[in-house]
C-alpha cells in the first residue's frame, strides 16, 4: 500500500491552472523526485499536501486514511515535514532554540536545554548531520542552515520529508554529502520527496521520479528505467536547444571593463579582497560561486551602488571609481540585478514608467522640461514588441506581469542602445526554460556585438554554457580564473567554490 497517495488534485490561481488532475503516489522508504520547470506546479502540489494552499478538488490519502490539512501544523502532527526553498529559521536564535521552537517540551516554559541538546545531538549523529547546537543561525552557512531545517523535522519525528530545491544553494561536494544523508534516512525507513529541476541529481539520488509540466503530471517512472534524455523531453516537451558559442576575436582596441585590485570593507568585514579582472569586448566572464561569497558586492561596486574601499574600476580606459551610478550607466553599462523586485523594477509603476527608470534623464525624452510621454510610450511599445512581453497594456503595473515578462522588460531597458558592458547577476533566476533560453541568447547576441559581459549565476551549468572564462569567487576572493574549454576540470571548480584550495591543487596534479 502506498504511504501517500494524492488523487486528481486541481488548483487554480486567478483562473490559471497550477495543478490539473495531478496524481502522485509515494511508497514507504522511497526517495521520490518531483521534476519540472519553474512554474510547472511542483511546489504548489507540495504546498497543497502540506496545508499551505487549499485544493480546488481531489483527495489525499496518508497511510490509506483520507486527510485534509489546513495548516502545516496539521501536517506535522501526521509526521509530514517540509523544508522550503527559503529557510524558515530565526537568525537571532541558536540552532537548538530553532529546532525546539514552538514545541512544548518537558518543563515548558523553562525546559532543560541540556536534555534537549542531547536529543538533538543524537538525531544529528545518527544521520551524519553535523551541527553546533549552540551556534547562532545568522553565523551558519546555507548548507548548515539546511541541516538545521532537516534536524528540525526529524526532531518532530517526521516520516516523510518534503525538500523544495534543496541543492539550489549547495556546491557539488556539499550536494554529494547531502545525498549521503538522504540515503541514510531512506535506510532508516524515512520517505523523501525531493523537488528539483536538475536531472543529473535525480539520476543519482531518486528511486522514482514524477514529471510535471504546465500543471499536468506527464509521467511517473522508476529512475532506473528512464534516461536523462527522456526525462528532459518529458519536462520541456521538446529537445533542449544546444547553444553554440563561437570564439569572437575582437580587435576593437577597446579595453572593456577592468577591475584593478578592488577591495571592499563593510562593517569591519572584508567583503571583496583585491579582485582584478578584465573583460574584453565580446567576452563573457562567468563567476562561479556559492551565493553570498561577494557576488552582490562585486556587482554593486562595479555599478557604483557601493563604493570600493580601494582599487580602481575602468571602462574603456576611463576611471569610473569616482563616478555616480548614473554617470557609469551613461558610459554604456547595462545592469541586470539578481533581485528584480527590489533592485530593478518599481512594481507599482507601469511598464512605461519602468522604462523611464533608466531613460528619464535622457534628453531625447524631455521636451520643455517635461517628459515626452508620447515618445516614451512609443519606446515601451517597441520594447514590448521586440522582446515579446506579454502584458494587458502599457499602463499595467509591473506587479501583474509574470516573472519572465518582468525580466524581459529589464532586458529591454538595460540592453537598449547597444551597451558596451552588461553586468548580469542571475539573469535567468526564477524563469522557465523558454525564458531562460531567451535571456541567454540575448547575452550571446550582445557578446557578438562586442559587449563585455560579466555573468554571475548560482547555476553552474549556466556559467559553463555561456562563459568564455570562469572566475571562482569564494569569500570575496577570486580563487582562480580559467578559460572555459573542453579541458576544464569541473571537480576542481567545485572544490574551489567550497574554498578548498589545497585539495583543488592536489586534484589538478
Amino acid at each position: 500500500m502506498a504511504l501517500l497517495s494524492m488523487k486528481n488534485i486541481s488548483k487554480s490561481f486567478f483562473g490559471k491552472m497550477a495543478n490539473s488532475q495531478v496524481c502522485f503516489d509515494l511508497e514507504p522508504g522511497e526517495i521520490h523526485a518531483l521534476l519540472g520547470e519553474n512554474g510547472a506546479g511542483k511546489t504548489t502540489l507540495m504546498n497543497i499536501l502540506y496545508g499551505i494552499y487549499s485544493r480546488d478538488s481531489g483527495d489525499i490519502f496518508w497511510k490509506g486514511q483520507e486527510v485534509s490539512f489546513t495548516s502545516p501544523r496539521d501536517a506535522i502532527a501526521f509526521k509530514i515535514g517540509m523544508v522550503h526553498q527559503h529557510f524558515m529559521l530565526v537568525p537571532t536564535l541558536t540552532v537548538s532554540q530553532n529546532i525546539t521552537l514552538g514545541l512544548k517540551e518537558k518543563g515548558y516554559p523553562f525546559p532543560d536545554r541540556k536534555v534537549l541538546n542531547a536529543t538533538i545531538m543524537e538525531v544529528s549523529q545518527k544521520y551524519g548531520l553535523q551541527i553546533d547546537v549552540n551556534a547562532y543561525i545568522s553565523n551558519l552557512s546555507v548548507g548548515e542552515q539546511q541541516r538545521v531545517e532537516i534536524i528540525k523535522l526529524l526532531y518532530r519525528d517526521a516520516e516523510l520529508l518534503i525538500l523544495d530545491e534543496p541543492t539550489a544553494m549547495l556546491t557539488p561536494q556539499e550536494t554529494e554529502y547531502f545525498f549521503e544523508v538522504l540515503r541514510k534516512l531512506r535506510a532508516d525507513g524515512h520517505s523523501v520527496i525531493i523537488i528539483t529541476h536538475r536531472i543529473p541529481e535525480i539520476m543519482s539520488i531518486s528511486d522514482r521520479v514524477t514529471v510535471l509540466r504546465d500543471g499536468y503530471n506527464v509521467v511517473t517512472a522508476k529512475t532506473s528505467d528512464i534516461s536523462e534524455q527522456e526525462l528532459s523531453r518529458y519536462m520541456i516537451g521538446r529537445q533542449l536547444q544546444i547553444i553554440q558559442r563561437e570564439t569572437i576575436l575582437s580587435d576593437t582596441g577597446r579595453e572593456g571593463i577592468a577591475l584593478e585590485e578592488v577591495s571592499l570593507q563593510e562593517k569591519g568585514r572584508e567583503r571583496l579582497n583585491s579582485l582584478s579582472l578584465q573583460i574584453a569586448p565580446g567576452e563573457i566572464v562567468g563567476v562561479a560561486g556559492v551565493d553570498g561569497n561577494g557576488q552582490k558586492e562585486l556587482v554593486e561596486v562595479i555599478l557604483g551602488i557601493r563604493k570600493q574601499s580601494s582599487g580602481k574600476i575602468r571602462m574603456d580606459g576611463v576611471d569610473m571609481s569616482s563616478l555616480s551610478v548614473l554617470e557609469r550607466k551613461k558610459l554604456g553599462i547595462g545592469y541586470i540585478s539578481d533581485d528584480r523586485h527590489q533592485d530593478g523594477l518599481v512594481m507599482d509603476m507601469s511598464l512605461t514608467d519602468n522604462i523611464l527608470l533608466k531613460t528619464h534623464t535622457d534628453r531625447r525624452f524631455i521636451k520643455h522640461g517635461l517628459i515626452n510621454t508620447r515618445l516614451v510610450r512609443a519606446e515601451t511599445q517597441k520594447a514590448v514588441e521586440d522582446y515579446a512581453i506579454k502584458t494587458p497594456g502599457l499602463n499595467t503595473p509591473l506587479r501583474y506581469l509574470s516573472g519572465g515578462n518582468q525580466q524581459k522588460l529589464i532586458l529591454a531597458r538595460e540592453m537598449a542602445g547597444n551597451p558596451k558592458a552588461i553586468i548580469a547577476h542571475q539573469p535567468s533566476r526564477g524563469l522557465d526554460i523558454g525564458a531562460t533560453e531567451f535571456v541567454q541568447q540575448q547575452l550571446l547576441q550582445h557578446r557578438s556585438n562586442g559587449c563585455s559581459i560579466l555573468l554571475i549565476s548560482a547555476d553552474l551549468e549556466e556559467v559553463l554554457l555561456l562563459s568564455d572564462r570562469i572566475a571562482v569567487l569564494y569569500k570575496g576572493c577570486f580563487l582562480g580564473i580559467f578559460p572555459n574549454t573542453q579541458e576544464l576540470d569541473l571537480s576542481q571548480i567545485g572544490l574551489l567554490m567550497a574554498g578548498k584550495t589545497s585539495e583543488a591543487r592536489k586534484e589538478s596534479l
Binding site: 486567478f14 551610478v325 548614473l326 550607466k329 518599481v346 512594481m347 507599482d348 528619464h360 524631455i366 517635461l370
Partner: protein
C-alpha cells in the same frame, strides 16, 4: 465584474457611514430627518454657505496637497499644522517689515516667504530622516508643538498689537491682504492660489523628470538607488515642497481671512490634511475633491448644530469612521473584490 465590485464596496462604505450617523443622531435625541435637512441646507442652503465650503476647503487643499507630495516620495508628513503656522508667521513678519510695498510685489513675496518658512520647517525633519534615519513621523509631529509655541511667543512679544490687550498681531497692511473674490462672502483669492498650486504640483510631480524621480523613490527607494536616482536629494526636495505648500496655506489664512496673526488660525487643518491626502489617494485632483467633501461635512454639521441641535463633534466622528472604513475596505469587502 471587478469594477462593479469596487463600486459596490464604496456604496457599502456610504451605507455604513450613513447608518452610523443616523445612530449617532438618534443617540443625542434629535430627529433624523430634521438633522439631515439642516445638514444639507447648511451646505447648499444659501450662496453664502456654499462659499463657506470653499473658504474651509482652501487651506485643506493646500495642506492636503503638501501631505500628498510628501507621501508620494515616502515622506510621511504629520507636520502640516506646524508648517502652516510657520507660513502664517512668515506673512505677518514680511508684511510688517516691508509694509509700504504695493500688493503686486507684496503678495508674491509673502507667498514665497510662506513657502520658504513652511519648507524649512519640513526640510529639517527630511534631512534628519535621510541623514540619520530618524523617523519623520515623530519629528514632524514634534515640530508642530514648536511652531505653535513660537506663534504663542510672537503674538505676545514682537508681533503683538500694542493697541490691544489680546495676544494677537495688528491688522496687516492693505498691500499684504488677499482680495475678497465675492464681496458679500468671506471667499478670498487664496482659493485661486490653491487651485494654481494644484495644477503646478500636478505638472511638477507627474510630468517632469524630477517628479518622476520623487515618485520612484517613494515606491521603491532601493531600485531608485540602483538606477542612479538620489534618494537623498529627492526626499529633501519633496519635504521642501510638502512643507512649502502647507506654509502657503498659512499665508492664505492670514492674508485672506484673518488679516492678522493669532494662535487659533487653524482648527487642525494640518491634521485633517492627512485625511484629505489619504482620501484623495495622494493625487492633486483627488485632494481637491476630498478637501471639498470634508469642508462640506464640517460646514454642514455647523448647520446641523444650529438648526437640529446635533453637536458638531459628530462630524469628526463621521470623518474618523469614513477613514477607518476606507482603510479597511479591502478586507471588509473581500468577497466583492476578489474575482470569483
Amino acid at each position: 465584474m471587478k469594477q462593479f465590485g469596487k463600486l459596490l464596496s464604496y456604496l457599502g462604505i456610504a451605507f455604513l457611514t450613513l447608518s452610523i450617523s443616523i445612530l449617532l443622531i438618534l443617540l443625542v435625541g434629535s430627529s433624523v430627518t430634521q438633522a439631515f435637512s439642516s445638514f444639507l441646507s447648511g451646505i447648499f442652503g444659501s450662496f453664502y454657505s456654499v462659499s463657506e465650503v470653499m473658504v474651509k476647503a482652501t487651506p485643506l487643499i493646500l495642506t492636503g496637497l503638501g501631505v500628498a507630495v510628501g507621501s508620494r516620495s515616502g515622506f510621511i508628513n504629520i507636520g502640516a499644522e506646524g508648517q502652516l503656522y510657520m507660513g502664517a508667521i512668515a506673512v505677518t513678519f514680511i508684511a510688517f517689515w516691508l509694509n509700504d510695498l504695493p500688493a503686486i510685489v507684496m503678495i508674491p513675496l509673502v507667498i514665497l516667504g510662506g513657502f520658504v518658512f513652511g519648507g524649512i520647517w519640513s526640510v529639517i525633519p527630511g534631512f534628519l530622516k535621510v541623514r540619520f534615519g530618524i523617523s519623520e513621523v515623530i519629528t514632524t509631529l514634534m515640530f508642530n508643538y514648536i511652531a505653535l509655541s513660537i506663534v504663542g511667543i510672537l503674538v505676545r512679544t514682537w508681533l503683538k498689537d500694542p493697541a490691544s490687550s489680546l495676544p494677537m498681531s495688528a491688522f496687516l497692511p492693505d498691500g499684504a491682504t488677499l482680495p475678497t473674490l465675492i464681496s458679500t462672502t468671506r471667499l478670498h483669492a487664496g482659493l485661486l492660489v490653491a487651485l494654481i498650486s494644484v495644477v503646478l504640483v500636478w505638472l511638477v510631480v507627474w510630468k517632469t523628470p524630477t517628479g518622476y524621480e520623487m515618485r520612484a523613490v517613494g515606491l521603491n527607494p532601493r531600485a531608485s538607488k540602483c538606477s542612479g536616482i538620489s534618494v537623498y536629494k529627492n526626499i529633501i526636495l519633496s519635504s521642501l515642497i510638502s512643507g512649502g505648500l502647507a506654509g502657503i496655506a498659512g499665508v492664505c489664512e492670514v492674508s485672506g481671512l484673518h488679516h492678522k496673526l493669532l494662535e487659533g488660525i487653524s482648527p487642525g487643518y494640518g491634521y485633517i490634511a492627512i485625511i484629505v491626502a489619504l482620501l484623495g489617494k495622494n493625487h492633486p485632483v483627488g485632494v481637491v475633491i476630498s478637501a471639498l467633501g470634508i469642508a462640506a461635512l464640517q460646514v454642514g454639521s455647523l448647520g446641523m448644530q444650529r438648526m437640529a441641535g446635533v453637536p458638531t463633534s459628530i462630524s469628526s466622528i463621521i470623518m474618523g469612521v469614513v477613514v477607518l472604513l476606507i482603510l479597511a475596505r479591502k478586507s471588509l469587502f473581500r468577497r466583492l473584490l476578489t474575482d470569483e
